[in-house]
């Protein structure tokens, strides 16, 4: 009680001022038609604005779930594509026996760290062995290929970016089908070099470069980039080709890890050949 009195002694003027102004403003809004209308109108605008912002906020919170849901949906669709399947089609006794087996499946993941500045760039994904990611799996995004998984832990995995000095990606020129390997010279993160395309090959600038599925790491036919510049090096039997990538690795955020369901069989095949 004494504290309250002291408060009034110290701030009485101010408190009374606030009280009297509150009474006056209430009177203005309550009993003056014009000012009352302005006040209720402004209050309506304010609450509408607040509703809108909270709505936006809720939507933003919901986006995270939405991304996971859409990734799952995309994976379902990608699994339906022809390049994700193994075909049993053969002609036997002039009857075409056709059945499809699933060859590739995909695991959605988010990039949690990324680098571009060095010669040997890596990315880190927020999914690991617990979700089924294993080393040597390919990583793709909506715009092209991202890299190859190098190591995994239970929750995370490290990806060797295609922008890595040791990266070799089998790729073909769509149409003529000449194949070579894509490497990176460590300069421009939007350009890679396509090597080992022989001098007799016929193609033009602007042709699309796609994965060819030789390594069984990426499905066949994923567009990687377009041919930007073709150089002939004297005394060399191969072209020097610059490929402009479709993917901008500086802003890749959501990716799919490619799981080859027949990987074990392919490994066995190599094993038998080596023995």
């Amino acid at each position: 009680m004494r504290g309250l009195l002291q408060l009034f002694a110290a701030y009485g003027g101010f408190l009374l001022f606030v009280l009297l102004e509150a009474i006056s403003i209430t009177l203005i809004v309550q009993y003056n038609q014009r000012q009352g209308e302005i006040a209720s109108n402004s209050l309506g605008l304010f609450t509408a604005y607040m509703d809108q912002s909270s709505d936006w906020f809720r939507e933003y919170i919901g986006l995270k779930d939405e991304v996971v849901r859409l990734q799952a949906k995309n994976i379902k669709l990608m699994e339906q594509l022809e390049n994700a399947r193994y075909s049993n089609a053969v002609f036997r006794d002039s009857v075409r026996q056709d059945s499809l087996e699933q060859l590739y499946t995909f695991i959605g993941a988010k990039v949690i760290s990324n680098s571009l500045s060095s010669d040997n760039n890596t990315l880190r994904l927020g999914k690991g062995s617990r979700q089924g990611i294993r080393p040597h799996m390919g990583v793709i995004s909506d715009d092209g290929i991202v890299g190859i998984v190098r190591t995994t832990t239970e929750h995370f995995s490290q990806v060797m970016s295609i922008l890595h000095s040791q990266s070799r990606i089998n790729a073909s020129i769509r149409g003529p089908g000449y194949f070579g390997s894509l490497t990176w010279d460590g300069r421009d993160p939007r350009h890679m070099q396509l090597n080992a395309i022989p001098r007799h090959a016929k193609f033009v600038e602007g042709d699309t470069v796609e994965t060819n599925g030789f390594s069984q790491i990426f499905p066949t036919g994923i567009p990687v980039g377009v041919i930007d510049k073709i150089e002939e090096v004297p005394g060399n039997n191969f072209f020097k080709i610059q490929v402009r990538l479709f993917i901008d690795l500086a802003r890749v955020k959501y990716v799919y890890v490619v799981d080859n369901l027949m990987r074990k069989e392919l490994d066995e095949l190599d094993q038998q050949a080596n023995d």
Binding site: G12, G13, L16, F17, L20, E21, I23, S24, I25, T26, L27, I28, Q30, Y31, N32, R34, Q35, I38, A39, S42
Partner: protein, 173 residues
């Protein structure tokens, strides 16, 4: 010093009567365009004794504003403006403080403080009061131009009446 209360009561009633009975009819007849309004009742707030406690100043300002509101049928507008004017009164007084300071038993009148000082003081206070009054009257920043125009037009006329009152009565306190 002892007669400060009755003087202020008389001033309260006199200025209220002047405002309501003389000046209010004067602002009519402009066909709804209230660009010109003569407000002389704030003079009561200007002339409160310097030692008036803040709560007393606020309450009397509220009473004055409320009674003017009753007559102008503008519930709360004059009251809010008057209370705010009474609350900010110490600041102009501080800015205009003479070198030797104030005698707290006096009121800031023309006779006590000099014509020049009083003109500066009442101009600041009247300008502030009119600006607040027209802002609350419009009640929206949308009418900013009209608020400033009304303040500009009303200021010289209100000050004219304030000066006339001060010259006629020339009160000491």
């Amino acid at each position: 010093m002892t007669n400060a209360l009755p003087i202020n009561i008389v001033r309260f009633i006199g200025l209220l009567a002047l405002q309501v009975l003389v000046l209010k009819p004067l602002s009519y007849g402009w066909q709804g365009h209230f660009f010109i309004n003569f407000l002389v009742y704030p003079l009561f707030i200007f002339l409160l004794p310097l030692r008036t406690p803040m709560p007393a100043a606020l309450l009397s300002a509220f009473a004055m504003g409320f009674l003017v509101d009753l007559s102008y049928d503008s519930w709360g507008v004059h009251a809010a403006a008057s209370v705010l004017t009474a609350y900010v009164r110490p600041w102009p007084l501080k800015w205009l403080q003479p070198r030797e300071g104030y005698n707290v038993n006096h009121s800031p009148t023309k006779k006590r403080m000099g014509t020049q000082w009083f003109l500066a003081y009442s101009s600041i206070m009247m300008g502030f009061h009119l600006l607040v009054y027209y802002s609350l009257d419009a009640f929206s920043p949308y009418y900013l131009k009209s608020i400033f125009l009304k303040t500009l037009f009303s200021f010289p006329l209100s000050m004219f009446f304030v000066i006339i009152v001060m010259y006629i009565f020339n009160p000491e306190d």
